[in-house]
Symmetry: C2
Subunit: 231 residues, 2 copies
């Protein structure tokens, strides 16, 4: 049997990654000093260079280690059932992010600062996610959404799920309650499930009142769509 934990080096490496992830998620790449990471895991800055080539390499290792499991999770979900119920995806993703609440912040930092890792992030992670979501929507097309709106719907879900984590600090101030507590995460998950039902299963109802079911909404003039004024 290969001893699974016989390599203390990797153990140290993992510990460094943990501390770096915490600080990078909180302060971003530029706001985190190598010496701070070292101090956080009872090391010296020089020691980190025995395990990583430099600050940038450490940063990308943190991102890679964080993003990979999420990517795997989504692939697993789509493999099990292509028309995986939105419920299950929401449940699984929220549970995963609840266990790794720093990940959305890491990704949001990288997105905002537009680092070198951003294009890889978009192409190898977000693009398949969106494509997968779009094709899942095509399986069950009875929804108020036109096919060219599917990417917007999936992007909206990205915003809804990630926003709960990236906005958590300021929402915590507003509600005087931590949005990332187990209780509130569960609450948000149930809310998103309900929202999914409202969004997807909504009766076509009277879309005519609002949208003339034009297949090409690009030609509509926004200012002309004033469905109701106060009377």
């Amino acid at each position: 049997m290969a001893r699974p934990e016989a390599r203390p080096g990797d153990q140290t490496r993992e510990r460094i990654l943990d501390c770096a992830e915490a600080l990078f998620a909180e302060r971003g790449l530029a706001g985190t000093a190598v010496r701070d990471i070292a101090r956080e895991c009872d090391l010296t800055a020089a020691s980190l260079y025995n395990h990583f080539e430099g600050k940038q390499a450490l940063y990308e290792a943190v991102l890679e280690r964080g993003v990979r499991p999420l990517l795997d999770l989504l692939q697993t979900l789509s493999a099990e059932s292509l028309d995986a119920a939105a419920d299950d995806v929401i449940e699984a993703v929220m549970a995963h992010l609840g266990r790794h609440p720093r990940l959305p912040r890491l990704i949001q930092h990288e997105t905002l600062t537009g680092g070198a890792y951003l294009s890889k992030l978009g192409r190898s992670w977000l693009r398949p996610l969106i494509e997968q979501g779009v094709s899942a929507m095509k399986v069950e097309p009875r929804s108020p959404w036109a096919e060219d709106e599917y990417p917007l719907v999936i992007s909206a879900w990205l915003h809804l799920i990630f926003g709960h984590f990236t906005m958590a600090p300021v929402l915590g101030v507003v509600f005087d309650d931590d949005p990332l507590s187990a209780e509130n995460l569960d609450r948000q998950t149930r809310f998103l499930r309900k929202l999914a039902h409202v969004m997807m299963k909504a009766r076509g109802a009277e879309p005519d009142e609002f949208d003339a079911s034009s297949p090409n909404p690009a030609e509509l003039d926004v200012s002309s769509l004033k469905p109701e004024g106060r009377s």
Copy 2:
């Protein structure tokens, strides 16, 4: 005659704020050097200290100048008609942010790094926004949402609108198209208007269909999150 442009000082000050806003929104506070800001507006770092007390003061001035008009806009909207149609709010906010696309990024940076300005941001800006949204929802209660879900609904709209801007860089990579172009901003605005109709005007319908199929351990104390602090 008082010459209207007899004060080049304020003009310079405004130019500094412009450059600082651009760099802070792109790289964050820690990632932006005072010398970079100075170079951007053809000045020397030393000159900036004739107009601002320091880097932190400049940063907060940028935030203040950016947030204030948005706050005013929302107050104006709620003043005109308390039950201001969600359509109008979406339209106005998206138009404003489209004209100031750096603002959501500034706020997101501040939220992520949790600077000193965050609590003021939450209390004086986001809190009234959410309270205003919640009370607007109470005016027209025919919607699938329970009253204790109103804060979640408003927060969701925050995520939907801000997300489009903060995620723009990575979404641009995915779709190979700038989400902040006039065309795509218009498209997103129309999408959000439609989503508002789907969310608000949807049949209250059968939540039983949803709750019954839910493997969720019943409804815990959903009323625990405080929609309003006072009691």
